[in-house]
C-alpha cells in the first residue's frame, strides 16, 4: 500500500524528514508516475532545452570542427552586423508589416463571419456555408499555395481570365513585389477565417436565450441584438484571443510565406523566419542567423509575457 494515493498524505503530515530522505521517499512512492515522465522529459531536454543552450553560438564564431563549445567568443559582433545589414532591416520591416496587416484584417474577420452565420435561420444553408468555409483549413499550405499559383496564373488563371473579360490588363501577381503582402493577407483570410469563426460560434451558442427574448420584447431590432446582446456575450472571447494574437505577433506564418515567396518578390516577401532558413541553413551561416533567431525569440517572449500580464490585469484567463 505504500504507493497508494490515499496514504500519501499521512506520510507527508507525519514525521519531519531531511530533504534528501523526503526526496527519495517521494521518488519511491510515486515511482510509476515519475517513470511515465522519463521519456517525455528526455524529449524536452534534447529537443527543447538543449537547443536553448545552442543559442550561445550567436556570440561565437561557429566552427564545425570545434563544435558549439569549442568555438571562439566574438561578443555582440553578429548582432552589430545584423543591425547594420540593410537586408535584415528590410526583413524586419516586412515582418512587422505582415504581422500588422494580419492583425488588422484576419482578427476581426472571423468575428464578423460568426455574427452573420448566426443570423442564418435556415439550418441546411447554415450547415452548407459552414462546411464550405471550413474546408481550406484542412489542406496544407503547399496545396493551397499551388492552387493560388494556378488561380493567379498570369496567362490563364481565373483571376486574369476575369480581368481580361472586363477589359483590364493581365497581371503577373507572383512576380510583382507590390502584390506579395496583399496575397499573403487575402489568402490567410480565405483559408482560415471560417475555421477561426468556430470558437466565436461556439461562444455565441452559450449566450442565454432569455437575454434575446427580453431584448426583443423591448423592441430591439437585429442590429441592436447584435450590438447589445451578442457582442457583449463575445467580449471575453474577443479580448482573450486578441491578447493571444498580440503575444504571437511575430509568428507571421513561416510555412505560408515560405511557400508563396520566390526570388522576384523577396524584397517584400522575406521575413525573419525565412531569412534565418535561407541564410542560416542554405548558406550555412549558423552563428549569424542564430543571432537573428535569438533576437526574434526574445522579442516574442517579451510580447507573450506582456500579453499574459495584460490578460491577468483585465481579469481574463492568462495565456498559461
Amino acid at each position: 500500500m505504500a504507493t497508494s494515493a490515499v496514504s500519501k498524505s499521512t506520510a507527508i503530515s507525519g514525521r519531519r524528514r531531511s530533504f534528501w530522505a523526503q526526496f527519495v521517499f517521494n521518488l519511491w512512492t510515486y515511482r510509476y508516475l515519475y517513470l511515465m515522465l522519463v521519456l517525455p522529459f528526455v524529449f524536452f531536454i534534447i529537443f527543447r532545452f538543449y537547443p536553448m543552450w545552442g543559442n550561445i553560438i550567436a556570440f561565437k564564431k561557429y566552427q564545425l570542427m570545434r563544435g558549439i563549445w569549442g568555438s571562439q567568443w566574438v561578443g555582440f559582433q553578429h548582432f552589430n552586423t545584423l543591425f547594420d545589414d540593410p537586408a535584415f532591416l528590410r526583413v524586419l520591416r516586412n515582418t512587422v508589416s505582415i504581422a500588422f496587416f494580419k492583425l488588422v484584417f484576419t482578427f476581426p474577420a472571423p468575428i464578423i463571419l460568426a455574427l452573420f452565420i448566426n443570423e442564418i435561420r435556415h439550418m441546411a444553408y447554415k450547415r452548407f456555408v459552414q462546411t464550405v468555409v471550413y474546408v481550406p483549413h484542412f489542406l496544407s499550405w503547399v496545396i493551397y499555395g499551388a492552387i493560388l499559383y494556378i488561380v493567379l496564373s498570369p496567362a490563364n488563371g481565373i483571376v486574369n481570365n476575369i480581368a481580361a473579360s472586363l477589359g483590364m490588363e493581365k497581371v503577373a501577381f507572383f512576380q510583382k513585389p507590390g502584390y506579395f503582402q496583399p496575397i499573403v493577407i487575402i489568402s490567410s483570410l480565405l483559408k482560415e477565417t471560417g475555421w477561426a469563426a468556430i470558437i466565436y460560434l461556439a461562444t455565441i451558442s452559450t449566450i442565454d436565450l432569455t437575454l434575446y427574448e427580453a431584448a426583443i420584447i423591448d423592441g430591439a431590432n437585429r442590429w441592436q441584438l447584435m450590438r447589445y446582446v451578442t457582442l457583449p456575450g463575445l467580449a471575453m472571447t474577443i479580448v482573450t484571443l486578441f491578447i493571444l494574437q498580440i503575444g504571437f505577433f511575430l509568428n507571421v506564418g513561416f510555412e505560408q510565406i515560405f511557400i508563396l515567396q520566390n526570388n522576384m518578390v523577396l524584397m517584400t516577401a522575406d521575413v525573419i523566419e525565412t531569412f534565418i532558413y535561407r541564410v542560416g541553413i542554405r548558406q550555412a551561416r549558423f552563428d549569424f542567423t542564430t543571432a537573428a533567431g535569438l533576437f526574434n525569440g526574445l522579442v516574442g517572449m517579451v510580447l507573450v509575457l506582456l500579453a499574459d500580464r495584460l490578460a491577468k490585469r483585465l481579469d481574463l484567463p492568462g495565456i498559461f
Partner: protein
C-alpha cells in the same frame, strides 16, 4: 416578433444570406477552378477559356499521373510518416499529461514551469537544426517524428481533461492494488476516448500536412513526404512553362492540366476524410478553449 417580420428585416436577411453565399463562393472558387482545369483539354486552358467548368473534358492528366507513379511513392511515404509519428506522439503526450494531471505529485509545479518556459521560448531554427543533426536524425524519418514528439498545447488539453476526471476513480483502483500504469490504461484512457480521438486527429492532420520539417531535415528525394514531392513537381512544371520556347511545345503538352490534377490528387485524402474530421475537430477546438 411582429416588428421583426417587417420588410426591412426580410431584406436584411436576404442580404446576409447573399453575402455569406458570396464569401463561400469566393472561398471555394479556387478549388473549382483547379478541378475544372484538371479535367480540361490543354488548348482551352491555354486560351484562358477554363474557369469553373471543364472545357474539352479529358482524363489525360490523371492517366499520366497514375501511370507516372510518383504519387504512389509520395502517398506511401506520407502514410508511413503519419502513422508512426501519430503513434509516437499520442504515447508521449499521454505519458506526459497523466502524471502532470496528478496535482499531488511532488515536483509537479517545477516540471510545469519548465514546460511553460519552453512554450514561451521555443528553440530557434538554427540551434534546433544543429541539435537534430547532432542526434544523427538528418535524412531519416526519425527527424520528422522525434523532434515533434509532444505538442505542448495538445498535452495541456489532455492534462486538463485528466485533471477534471473524479479523483475517486483513481483512489478506489489503487485501494484494489492497481499501480498507476494500470489506472491510466484501464480507467483513465477508456474515460477519455473522445478527447484522445480528437488529439489523434489533430496530430494526423499535422503529420499528413507536414512540410517544413522535411524541407529542413530530409535531402533524400525517395524519403520526402507528399507535400514536398508535390511542391517540387509544381515548381518544376512552373519553371518549365515559364522558360519554354516554341519547340518545347511537345514536351510541355498537357502541363497546365497536369499541374492542376497533381494538386487535386494530393488533396483527395484530406477531402475524403474531411466530413469525419469536421465533427471531431469542432469538439476538439472547444476542448482546447478550456483553460489549461
Amino acid at each position: 416578433m411582429v416588428a421583426s417580420r417587417s420588410f426591412r428585416f426580410r431584406l436584411e436577411s436576404i442580404l446576409i444570406y447573399l453575402g455569406l453565399g458570396i464569401f463561400a463562393f469566393i472561398a471555394v472558387t479556387p478549388f473549382l477552378h483547379t478541378i475544372a482545369r484538371s479535367f480540361s483539354a490543354e488548348a482551352p486552358i491555354l486560351r484562358g477559356e477554363v474557369n469553373i467548368w471543364p472545357v474539352g473534358f479529358s482524363f489525360d492528366a490523371y492517366e499520366r499521373l497514375i501511370i507516372g507513379g510518383t504519387f504512389w511513392l509520395a502517398y506511401r511515404n506520407s502514410f508511413m510518416i503519419t502513422v508512426s509519428a501519430t503513434l509516437v506522439q499520442m504515447i508521449m503526450t499521454i505519458l506526459c499529461a497523466y502524471p502532470l494531471s496528478r496535482t499531488y505529485l511532488p515536483g509537479r509545479n517545477i516540471l510545469m514551469t519548465l514546460i511553460v518556459f519552453q512554450m514561451i521560448f521555443p528553440p530557434s531554427l538554427i540551434p534546433f537544426y544543429l541539435t537534430v543533426r547532432e542526434v544523427g536524425l538528418i535524412d531519416s524519418w526519425g527527424s520528422l517524428i522525434w523532434p515533434y514528439a509532444i505538442n505542448t498545447f495538445n498535452m495541456i488539453v489532455l492534462k486538463s481533461y485528466f485533471q477534471a476526471l473524479p479523483r475517486e476513480l483513481e483512489e478506489s483502483a489503487i485501494i484494489d492494488g492497481a499501480n498507476d500504469f494500470r489506472v491510466l490504461i484501464h480507467i483513465m484512457l477508456p474515460l477519455s476516448v473522445p478527447v484522445l480521438l480528437t488529439l489523434t486527429l489533430f496530430y494526423v492532420v499535422a503529420n499528413w500536412n507536414l512540410f517544413l520539417p522535411a524541407i529542413f531535415f530530409i535531402n533524400d528525394g525517395n524519403k520526402q513526404p507528399l507535400q514536398v514531392i508535390l511542391r517540387d513537381m509544381i515548381w518544376s512544371m512552373q519553371l518549365a512553362t515559364q522558360t519554354a520556347s516554341a519547340d518545347d511545345f511537345e514536351r510541355l503538352a498537357g502541363m497546365e492540366a497536369l499541374k492542376a490534377s497533381s494538386v487535386i490528387i494530393a488533396a483527395i485524402p484530406m477531402l475524403v476524410a474531411y466530413p469525419f474530421f469536421q465533427r471531431f475537430f469542432i469538439k476538439g477546438i472547444l476542448l482546447g478553449a478550456i483553460k489549461g
